[in-house]
Symmetry: C2
Subunit: 445 residues, 2 copies
């Protein structure tokens, strides 16, 4: 056993919103952190690109450096908050190779190079922590990595992107269209000038890959995730949803199920979905995040909280830092990312889901029968049909909800409908995520 | 460093519903557990009172013993699922004193003798884990003990007793009275024949003490908790609540705040409270549990899931077991329960809360003025008044919601009202737990 150091030296890479908060909180609550970690945690270097740039929190200029080696080498702990793949990857590997434990909030890096980093950490005996990479302050990484280590996870389904949740929530509550809600989100600082990564679901996909890897002990990369964003959701989709006491959320879904070849595998996808308003995720408002985890023994658990922002993300970074620091002092290490399960990634077309389709049709005898026969021909069973007058004379709107069916078959139905002379337009097709009726009934205290 | 053992020997004390599930899952998923813990986990002894009693899961008779020393001595890990103070306390101390790590689901033991057990664990270097003692599978102990170790908790507020939540939920959704809902809960196995520990809030109080100790690094025992149960809640209270778009929940509340002497302290209480229906805890249905944690940096987090039942509780026990086993193999230990904060426990009378009172009064000129003057005289500010005709002629009902006031002043108001000739009856006084308007607005991804 090495001697317990009285002070642990920390390098913070990046001094943006989160980095500034981390530095501030470590200083303000230094005694609390020392009590929790068993040693004082002192920031001794801060890697920045521009030492003179304005910052949220004043940082002692003597700590600032633009040289990675100066910042990192020989430290006890490194906090990486630069974001993006490079140079973050090089810096993190530099630290891990020296046996320096790393705390990062970098979802892109984890989703793209997770296995390489886990391996580097295991090789040198360093810790790699990344709670802040998924859902900010919400401790779902902890939940999956440690506190559900005694269970077998079947499904993770979550709202993991605050920007899109803010936009969809604004559409649902104000009746605004997508563009208008996006503009509002940009005005309030919830969406960036270029919102692509959020609204096209890429941010959620990176988090989905990380969650799936953790939940199923299997390598899942961002390219394995089938992604559909929220650009196509209209005000009409939202008011239709409300008519059926539903709402629309962008969901990240990772599940373990039996594939078409009879073997168990992992399916990962991000897409908008209709939820009944009494679904636990339906009431997650504004920029909040929430993740439902279903375990064979635990049943359904939900983690809920602020998925982004300087202080909440800093809170996640700091709890990881306390864990890593405590291991420095007392021995032990973070759980190793064991990918022992090696489950195959299932083909998205084999997914089984429910769809709700809204069609504009000719209002004439036999149209419904024509439409219904298209569903039947592709083996897709209809659960409910709602027909009403359309906007123009001679037009009608049909809203059809299907039973669970193969995703590929549902796509074939949508294609056939769009070709049918009876159908003027397939106005929308949205997946339905309904509460799993098989979920365990909770027992009493 | 000691050599990594290939197999860890576990003693399970108690083979009831939870113990049986633990034994079953350890056997069924032995390979998964070995991969996670770094060693095989094998149950080698099961302490029972009656070896021939019928059980949920068949247990190899060779493992059964009625002798504690035979069961415990020399094992690597002990799982205590006997419940109650004695002999559980003696057994747990016996294990800890030998350096054997203990996983327990015993809330009564923790709430009464926590500090003694923490100390015994720290002295011998053993781990003491107890996720299953609070809210079953919901990883709130983990959350407070580890994943929020980088934050300063200000408040924990939760629904931690499934039996009372089932009863109140049934009253709210069916209009049933308390007795009828309790009977239904007993029929379904959600409440015991003697429901005292649940309905009088004692079970929730034990959990509240454990949560407060963890959140505030301060010794809090069950006797520190001010407790009020749900027996006095009537069908009329519930329908009144619904009229004001509220519902009634039994809440466990632990908060850090400044006491009347200007010093910071901890306040802990369990009582029924009115919640607006859009409060995150209001929609927690049936026998589910949910705990809101407010951190200075993290903002508001919620943990939700099944608070009881064999399998969910077993899931919590097993994740603790994996953590303890992993420390055996790789070194390190559970976070030590550091009570470094030593905050004083605040007097319940000094708590600041809001009340809703329902009064039956004479329907005559000046009554409202008489009532209002009683509030004013005790320095309690009225937020809203709702008056309507009462049941009989010449009667009226007044529902008054107060602003935040000292609990002691509110009690004095209730007493003065009951003595006033204008008031026929103080039909109910229930605290209001409204959403904290100061809570941080979440930022975007």
């Amino acid at each position: 056993m090495t001697e317990s150091p009285a002070t642990l030296e920390v390098a913070v890479l990046g001094a943006g919103t989160v980095g500034s908060q981390v530095i501030r909180l470590l200083e303000e609550q230094a005694d609390d952190f020392a009590a929790r970690a068993g040693a004082r945690i002192r920031v001794v270097s801060v890697l920045v690109r521009h030492p003179d740039a304005p910052r949220d929190v004043e940082i002692d200029p003597a700590l600032l450096t633009t040289d990675a080696a100066t910042a990192i080498d020989g430290r006890d702990l490194v906090v990486e908050l630069i974001g993006g793949i490079e140079p973050a990857r090089t810096y993190v590997l530099r630290a891990l190779s020296q046996g320096i434990s790393v705390v990062t909030g970098n979802k892109a890096l984890l989703a793209a190079h997770g296995p390489e980093l886990y391996e580097a950490a295991a090789d040198s005996g360093a810790d790699l922590y990344y709670e802040a990479a998924v859902a900010g302050a919400v401790p779902v990484v902890y939940g999956l990595r440690e506190s559900l280590a005694g269970d077998r996870i079947t499904r993770v389904i979550g709202i993991v992107n605050g920007t899109t949740n803010f936009i969809l929530d604004a559409m649902a509550t104000t009746g605004a269209g997508y563009e208008q809600a996006l503009f509002r989100a940009q005005e309030l600082g919830y969406a960036e000038a270029d919102p692509t990564a959020d609204v096209d679901g890429l941010d959620a996909a990176a988090k989905c890959a990380i969650l799936a890897s953790l939940a199923f002990h299997t390598r899942v990369g961002i390219d394995d995730v089938e992604v559909e964003g929220i650009r196509s959701i209209t005000a009409e989709d939202m008011s239709e949803a409300s008519f059926f006491t539903q709402t629309i959320k962008l969901l990240a879904i990772a599940e373990r199920r039996v594939g078409e070849d009879g073997r168990e595998g992992v399916a990962v996808r991000v897409h908008p979905a209709l939820l009944p308003t009494d679904h636990p995720l339906a009431s997650v408002a504004g920029a909040y995040n929430a993740i439902l985890v279903e375990g064979e023994a635990a049943g359904r658990l939900m983690f809920y909280g602020q998925g982004a922002g300087g202080a909440p993300t800093a809170s996640a970074v700091l709890s990881d830092l306390v864990a890593a620091a405590s291991h420095r002092v007392h021995g032990g290490h973070a759980p190793r990312e064991s990918v022992y399960a090696h489950l195959p990634i299932l083909d998205p077309g084999s997914a089984r889901t429910r769809y709700q389709m809204r069609l504009r049709v000719e209002d004439r005898l036999g149209v419904l029968s024509d439409v219904a026969s298209i569903f039947a021909r592709h083996g897709v069973s209809i659960q409910s049909v709602h027909q009403r007058d359309g906007r123009g004379p001679g037009q009608a709107v049909i809203v059809i909800a299907t039973h669970v069916a193969r995703e590929a078959d549902l796509r074939a139905v949508a294609h056939a409908l769009s070709q049918s002379p009876a159908v003027r337009e397939v106005a929308s097709t949205i997946r339905i995520e309904s509460d799993d009726p098989r979920s365990v009934v909770p027992a009493a205290d």
